[in-house]
Amino acid sequence: MSVAAIVAILVVLAVVVAAAVVVRKRRLRGAVGKGAGGLPLQTPPPQTPPPQTLPPTFDAPSPAPAAEPRLRDRLGKTRAAFASVVAGFGSRGGADSEDWEDLEEALILADVGVATTSKILDGVKAKATNERADAERVLELLKNEILSIVATGDRDLAYEQGALNVWMFVGVNGVGKTTTIAKLAAREVKSGRNVVMAAADTFRAAAAEQLAHWAELVGADLVRGQDGADPGSVVFDAMNAAVHRGADLVLVDTAGRLHTKVNLMEELKKLRRIVDRTPGAQKEVLLVLDASTGQNGLAQARQFADAVEVTGVVLTKLDGTAKGGIVLAIQAELGLPVKLVGIGETADDLVAFDPAEFVDALFA
C-alpha cells in the first residue's frame, strides 16, 4: 500500500467528513443560534456586564507539619486490598494457578496494566519454578522484580550551583502541575534558592492567580502575562528576568493539554525551545501524572517524551487509594523514572520517590 494511496483515501474521507461537519454545523446554527457559545475560551467577550459576584477569596494555607512526611506513612493505610491477596498467596499449600491469578488481578487493580503485569509475573514464575520457591519466596521474587524496574534511572533533579536551572512541568489537564510547582517552590526557597515561577498557563482561567497566590506565600518571584497571552512570551520573559536577577531556579508551569492535540503539543515544543535558548541552563522536564490515571498514562508519557524530552515523572495524589501502577509501564517502556511523589495538600507533601518504600508500601 503506497503512501499516496493512503493519502488519497484520507483526503476523500476528509472531504466527506468535512462536508458532513459543515452540514451539521449549519443545522446547529439554524436551530440553536450557537453564536455566543462558540466563542473560544481565550478571548473574553467584549464588554460583558460585570456579573453579580463578591470578590474572590483564598483559603489560608495549611500550616506545615513539623516532621517530613514519608511515603510509607501515607501509603500504608490504603494498601489493605493488595495486602490481603499477598497474605493469601499460597495459603492452600504451595502456589497454585488460582494464586497466580489473584496476584495478576491485584497488579491490574493497581493499574500496572495487562502487558506489564504479564511480563512481571512471567519473570517471577520462571524464577520460582527454577528454585522451587515457597509462597514467601515468591513474594520476595515479585518484590525484587518490580524493584528491578523502578529502582533504575537517575532520580535527582538536575541542579547546578551557580548556573541557571530550569524545571518545566508538563502534563494533561488536572493532574496537579500548579500545585506541584507550589510545593516544590516552597521547598527550594526554604533551602535558600532564589526561585522564579513562570506562569505559562495562560489558558485556564485564573491559573496565574493560583500560582501568584503561592508565589507570594512561599516568597518566590512570579512572571506572568495576560490571560490568553502567548505562553512563549511568558517563558521568554521569565528566562530573561531570571538571568538578570541572578536567580537559581525557574519553575515553568504550563497549561494542561491532552497529548493528542497536535497544535498544543507544538506549542509546548516551542516553550521548550525558548528555554533551550538560554545557554548553560540545566534543564529538567517533568511529566506530572495523576496516580489514578489508567493505561492512558503510557500514551501520555510517550507523546510528551517525544515532544519535549521528558526527564522524569512526578506522581501526584498518591495519598488516595490509587496506586499509580502505570509508572511501572512507563519506566519499563520509556525508561522515565519517577522523581517526586505528591502525597497531600500541604506544601510539605511532596517527597522524593523511594523505590523500596514504593514497593514495600505496595505489599504493606
Binding site: 467528513v17 468535512a18 461537519v21 459576584t53 474572590p56 493528542t260 497544535n263 487509594t321
Partner: protein
Amino acid sequence: MFDSLSDRLDGIFSRLRNRGKLTERDIDEVAREIRLALLEADVNVKVVKGFIARVKERANGAEVQKSLSPAQQVIKIVHEELVTTLGGVSGKLSMSPKPPTVVMLCGLQGSGKTTASAKLARLLKSQGLQVLLVAADLQRPAAVEQLRILGERLDVPVWSAPDEGPKDPVAVAKSSLDEAARLGKNIVIVDTAGRLQVDDELMGELVRVRDAVRPSNTLLVVDSMTGQEAVNVAVTFDELVGLDGIVLTKIDGDARGGAALSVKEVVGKPILFVGTGEQLDDFEAFHPDRMASRILGMGDVLTLIEKAEEVFDEGVAAKAQEQMAKGQFTLEDFLEQMRQVKKMGPIGNLLKMLPGLPAEMRKAELDEGEIGRIEAIICSMTPAERRDPALINGPRRVRIAEGSGTATSDVNALLKQFKMVQQMMRSMGGGKRPKLRGMDLSEITGGK
C-alpha cells in the same frame, strides 16, 4: 501498540471452523480476548468479570448471521451488551418541582468540576434557563476566581464567599439559594472542591454542603483517563453523598474510557454528560454507542469527525464539497485538503480511527515525510497544471520532478492516485449530502 479486539478475534476464528453457530468452546476462547481488551481499556477487573459472564450467556448458541463473520458476531454481542450496560442517551437533569433546581458537582481533584460547572451553565442557559453558578470550592487557591472568570464569559452570575470572614463552603452554598431567589434564577450549579473519597473530613463537609442545598442532581465528575480507581471513587461518593448521575470529562483524548463502564456498573446511575474539549461549548449528552466502540478500541469515525471539526476550516471544506459535487475536484483542492488532514495529527493515528480498513493499511508504517513530498510535487506545478493535470506531459513531468526534488516516477504515481481520487469523488459527489455510512467498510462500526 495493542491490536484492536476485532483483529485478535479474527485471529482466533480463523483457526476455528465456521460452524454457523457459536459454541461454548468458541466463546470461552474469545472471552479471554474480550477480557484483555476491557482491562486494557481500564475497565475495573471486578466489573470485567461480571460483564464477561453476561456476554457468555448472551453469546452461547447465538446464530452467526450470514452477513457477519463469527468474530464480528461476537463483537456485535459485546458491543450491544456494552451499550445496554452504559445506558440510554441522556443529558437530562431532573428538574425540581419547586425551583430552583440545584445541581451539585463533586469529585476528585483535577477531574474537571469547575470547567464542567461552567460548561453545564452554558448548556442550560442556551436552553433558556436562568442559571446561578456557586463557587463552593474554597480549598484550591483561585478556584473561585476561575469560576468567576468563566461566569463572566458566559454572562452568568457567580455567587461566592465574602472577602472577609470565615471561608465556609456550607455557608456559601446555603446563602446561594437566597441569592437565586433574589435574582429569580431557576437553576443553581454548585461547584465543590476536589477531594479524595478517603478524606473523611472533606467528605463530611461535602455532606453538609449537600444538606444545605438539597440538590436534586448530585453529579460525580469523572476523568475519562481514570484507571481501576474509578470504582472506589464512585462507590464511596455514592455511599456518602448519594449520586444521581455522572459527568465524564476529557474524552477528547485517546483514553479508551473503561472508567465509564466501571462507574456505571457499580453506581447504576446514568452518565449524563461528557466534556469533549477545551472550549465552553464542548459539552454534550452522553452517547453509549460511541463510548462502547471506544472502549472496544474499534475504529471511531466520530472521534475523527470531532478532530476534523476542530481543525477544518469551514470555508475550505464547503468549497471542496461544492467542487466535489460538481466533479471539479482539482489538485489545488487536493493540496488544500491534504494540508487540513495534516493538521488533524499524524496520519498513522488517523488511520487507526477508520473502521473497516484492511489491516495491512492500518498497520502500514507511514513516513510523514512522504506527505511533505506530495506537497512539494503539487507546489512545483503551475496553477494551470493543478487545475488540469491532463496538461502534464513528459517534459513537464521532468520539470516538476526536478522542482520538487523527487523522481519522475513519484510524479507519475501521484497523478495516477489523483485520478483515482477524482473518480471516487465523482461517484460520491452525485448526492447532495454524501453519506458517511457509505464509507464504512464494516458492518458494525458502532455509532452514527
